[in-house]
Symmetry: C2
Subunit: 139 residues, 2 copies
C-alpha cells in the first residue's frame, strides 16, 4: 500500500486566490484540519491548517474575509511523492511537527493529502493483518 | 492499559476565567489541539478546541483578547472516566466527530485528556506486542 492509497478519497483544496474565510469554511465543511492551496496549474502553492488559523488569524489583526489565503498559508511546504514511504512521511511529520503532508506528482501537482491519522490507521490495518496471518500459522 | 495511561503526561488546561487568547496560546505552546477549561474546584467546565477557534472566533466578530474562554468553549462536554474502555472512548469520538475526550474522576475533576491519536498509538503498541508474541510461538 503506497501513501496515496492511505489518504482520504477526496482532497480538500482551495485556489490560491481564495480568501482565508473560504479556506476555513472548506476545513469546517469537510471535517479536516488542513487544505491544500493550489495555483491555476493545480500545483501546490502552500498548505493552510488549523495551526495557521490559531497563529496568524485568531491572534492577529487580520479579518479572514478580507485576507487572501496566500498571505496566511504555510509555504514553502514539505511535500511527499508516490515514492515516499510511510516511514519517511511519518518521520518528516513528527520531526517538523506537521500533521499533514501533500502528495504531489513530478510536476508538483496535487495528488492527495496525507495526515498522521491516515498513517496510524494504515499501520493498524497492516499489524492486524500480520497478526491474523501469524495466528493462522499457529493454529 | 487503561485510557488514562494512554494520555499525554501533562494535560493542557486553563481556568474558566481565562481569555480565549490565553487558551489559544496554551494550545500553541503545548502543541495540542484542545485545552480543558476548569473551574476553581478543578472540575471540567468545558473544552476549547481548534475547531472552536475556527467556528466561533476566526469567522466571528469576537476579539480573543477580550472574550472569555467560557463564552466560546464547547459545553456540555462528553467525558470519560477511568472505567471507560478504549473502544468505548473511540466509538464516542468517531460518532460525535470529537478528537479529544477529557477523563474525569467521580467528582468531575480533570485527570487527563485523551486524543484520538493517543488511542491509535496505543492500538499500534498492543498489536505490535501481540504480533511479537504470535511470532515467537511460531519460531
Amino acid at each position: 500500500m503506497n501513501i496515496l492509497e492511505m489518504c482520504d478519497p477526496e482532497v480538500a483544496k482551495v485556489p490560491v486566490g481564495a480568501t482565508a474565510e473560504q479556506a476555513i469554511r472548506a476545513m469546517l465543511d469537510r471535517h479536516v484540519g488542513a487544505v491544500a492551496v493550489t495555483d491555476e496549474n493545480h500545483r501546490v502553492a502552500g498548505i493552510f491548517t488549523e495551526r495557521d488559523v490559531l497563529r496568524r488569524l485568531a491572534l492577529g489583526d487580520h479579518d479572514p474575509r478580507n485576507v487572501s489565503v496566500r498571505e496566511v498559508m504555510t509555504t514553502p511546504v514539505e511535500m511527499a511523492t508516490r515514492a515516499t514511504t510511510a516511514s519517511e512521511a511519518l518521520a518528516t511529520m513528527v520531526e517538523r511537527h506537521y500533521r499533514h503532508l501533500p502528495i504531489v506528482d513530478d510536476d508538483g501537482r496535487l495528488l492527495g493529502m496525507l495526515s498522521i491519522r491516515n498513517l496510524l490507521q494504515a499501520q493498524i490495518d497492516t499489524l492486524t493483518s500480520q497478526l491474523d496471518q501469524a495466528r493462522s500459522v499457529v493454529l
